[in-house]
């Protein structure tokens, strides 16, 4: 175990860049993951999230920048010298070894005396004791996934990396494993860095979500904060859905700025606007909007648009989804929970108006 670097503390990436011959996968990325937190790197495929993870694991070396855990610089060290373990996307379980030997692989390489006993203890944590003697190919996808988690956890790494670990599972199993992983993380108290393109997965599990796009972090924060107040167009659309239209800030009104769009003058809280002047994209989440058969009137001035044409109504049980074409504002989505006993009887082709609570609107850079 020559060269093994003990380290404790926050995971810190400073100005990390990874360039390949034809493109830059990670572009001057800096972030800090507090010790013991569940951190999600969320982004579309090709955004650089997996490359970032592989650099933390040591499977790739950054072109420039440093990677630290606490005060220990890990940049340039090999994967087997880092107190970091990975749960791989396709699990990468060793097919020639039993489940127990897969889990004991890490402790054995580190010369731990009771490697098999530790493996058994970790297998009981993921509730797989009864399958310890099997080969990985004889397990279901969900079981293989838990073996992969156990194989990484048994080493008590300072940071556990999860590379889309739930991507290969069906929806029901994925939900179960989300809860399971969160339980394990709380139980062992390790730093988890979870890479995923599933925004719901990221929001359910993580304490902090970083949304990545084109090798950069667009926005980072607690899931509810990020969802409530996206700061870029990309985040507004990638994390949940948003109705967006472009406008121009040309006035203030108390605590609000006034955004002029082609047809409307809309009000927006100053604290929720990405810019105090100039071009801005005005947005509202579909579930924060309401649909009306008549003009909501001056009371809703600044918090409503219309008239528009209803183009689609789909009843989903819990909610009804309306799609409305508003001239100069594009196609808006409205989700209304089915609370009222008497539902608004609207059909495609009807003329409708859309309104929202003024506190729910947000403005992002165009």
């Amino acid at each position: 175990m020559a060269g093994f670097r003990e380290a404790q503390g926050d995971l810190v990436l400073e100005n990390v860049t990874k360039s390949f011959t034809t493109f830059t996968a990670v572009d001057d990325l800096s972030l800090t993951v507090p010790r013991g937190s569940f951190f999600a790197l969320l982004g579309p495929s090709g955004c650089g999230k997996t490359t970032t993870l592989r650099m933390v694991a040591g499977l790739e070396q950054p072109t420039s920048g440093t990677i630290r855990i606490g005060n220990t610089d890990l940049t340039g060290s090999r994967p087997y010298e880092r107190p970091v373990n990975t749960v791989f996307q396709s699990y990468a379980l060793f097919p020639h070894l039993s489940v127990r030997d897969n889990v004991a692989f890490g402790p054995k390489r580190r010369g731990v005396k009771d490697a098999l006993a530790q493996a058994d203890a970790t297998l009981s944590l993921v509730q797989l004791t009864h399958l310890a003697g099997r080969k990985p190919t004889q397990l279901s996808g969900g079981q293989q996934q838990r073996v992969a988690v156990a194989r990484a956890l048994v080493n008590h790494p300072e940071v556990l990396l999860l590379d889309e670990p739930l991507g290969a599972l069906d929806l029901k199993l994925r939900r179960e494993m989300q809860v399971e992983l969160k339980r394990i993380q709380t139980e062992v108290g390790l730093t988890f860095v979870h890479v995923t393109h599933d925004q719901e997965e990221a929001m359910t599990m993580a304490d902090t979500v970083a949304v990545m796009n084109l090798g950069k972090i667009e926005q980072m924060g607690a899931p509810d904060v990020l969802y409530d107040l996206p700061r870029t167009k990309f985040v507004a659309n990638f994390l949940g859905q948003s109705n967006l239209m472009s406008g121009h800030v040309d006035d203030t009104d108390g605590d609000n700025v006034v955004v002029s769009t082609a047809q409307h003058k809309l009000r927006l809280r100053k604290s929720r606007a990405a810019a105090g002047s100039g071009d801005i994209a005005f947005g509202v989440r579909p579930e924060k909007t309401r649909i009306h058969n008549a003009d909501p009137g001056p009371a809703a001035a600044g918090n409503s648009i219309g008239p528009g044409t209803l183009v689609d109504v789909s009843f989903t049980g819990v909610a009804t989804q309306y799609l409305v074409d508003v001239p100069e504002a594009g196609r808006w989505a409205v989700y209304e929970q089915n609370l009222d006993l008497e539902r608004i009887d609207s059909r495609p082709g009807d003329t409708v108006w859309i309104s929202w609570d003024p506190g729910h609107a947000f403005g992002v850079r165009p």
Binding site: Y80, T86, S90, A92, F94, F105, R110, K135, R151, N155
Partner: protein
């Protein structure tokens, strides 16, 4: 339903089965011939069944009776063992180099490895003979056991490279990354993960090499000089009648090969079934 119709249906329903049986008969006829004629109580030549003498176990009791047959078999086994060992080690190293490393001429190397497989044996034999006579004689090497070994290593190498390469290419690179991630250094990763996973490919390459070497007649005939391998013994004795002991040895080898294949299947399926 008329009888002729019934017959037609009967044949139609069993057509594939009938064809399969005929093909199997065709495939196993030579082996059956070898087996049956190993009991022939012949006088002069084992080409014809002797209807007068009753079948005999004499040839099975003393398979090394005819002069030279034991030496020929031992030569073949020796050549096969050495050629297999050297070709498997060299070929495996070459396969790793071709799959895992980038170097100038890698593409050309990948293609050139196939050339000996595609070259007619008669050409290889003739050219090896020329090289041995023209070149190696000058350094005191005469045609015999070691020239056969050198020739066999040469043609077995390609097959080893191709077999091991295929296995290595199908190996998920993430398995080795996982090993490194789990604190295995380069040596640990190779011996704990890569080698065990490639081993089945290396074993089949070795078995293939041995059977190619043992079987070879054309190249061996060119480069063997005075040395005699088992195939060469059989060919040469054809002129004065192949002794039935050759049938005994030939059939025994067939049985050993079949047993090896069955053993391989059993080990393979055990590995996959629950521990």
């Amino acid at each position: 339903m008329s009888t002729s119709q019934r017959l037609r249906f009967w044949i139609a329903n069993r057509f594939v089965m009938i064809v399969a049986i005929l093909v199997l008969v065709y495939l196993f006829l030579p082996v059956a011939y070898t087996f049956v004629f190993s009991f022939n109580n012949y006088k002069k030549s084992n080409i014809q069944w002797n209807p007068e003498g009753s079948p005999t176990l004499d040839h099975w009791k003393n398979p090394f009776g005819p002069p030279g047959i034991k030496d020929a078999l031992l030569t073949s086994l020796g050549v096969g063992a050495i050629a297999t060992l050297v070709a498997t080690v060299l070929g495996t190293l070459l396969a790793f180099a071709l799959v895992r490393h980038d170097f100038r001429g890698k593409g050309a190397g990948n293609i050139l490895v196939f050339v000996p497989m595609a070259t007619p044996e008669i050409v290889l034999g003739a050219s090896l003979l020329t090289i041995f006579v023209q070149g190696f004689n000058q350094v005191g090497l005469t045609l015999g056991f070691w020239t056969i070994v050198i020739a066999h290593i040469m043609f077995c190498l390609s097959f080893v490279v191709v077999t091991v390469k295929a296995r290595l290419q199908s190996l998920d690179p993430r398995l080795e990354e996982a090993a490194q991630d789990l604190y295995a250094g380069p040596g640990g990763t190779f011996w704990r993960v890569t080698f065990p996973l490639v081993l089945p490919g290396i074993v089949s390459a070795a078995l293939l090499s041995f059977s190619l070497s043992f079987d070879d007649f054309i190249i061996t005939n060119f480069v063997s000089g005075d040395a005699t391998t088992f195939p060469k013994f059989v060919y040469v004795s054809y002129l004065r009648g192949i002794p039935a002991e050759a049938n005994v040895i030939g059939f025994s080898l067939f049985v050993i090969a079949v047993l090896l294949v069955i053993a391989g299947q059993v080990v393979g399926s055990r590995r996959r079934s629950p521990a």
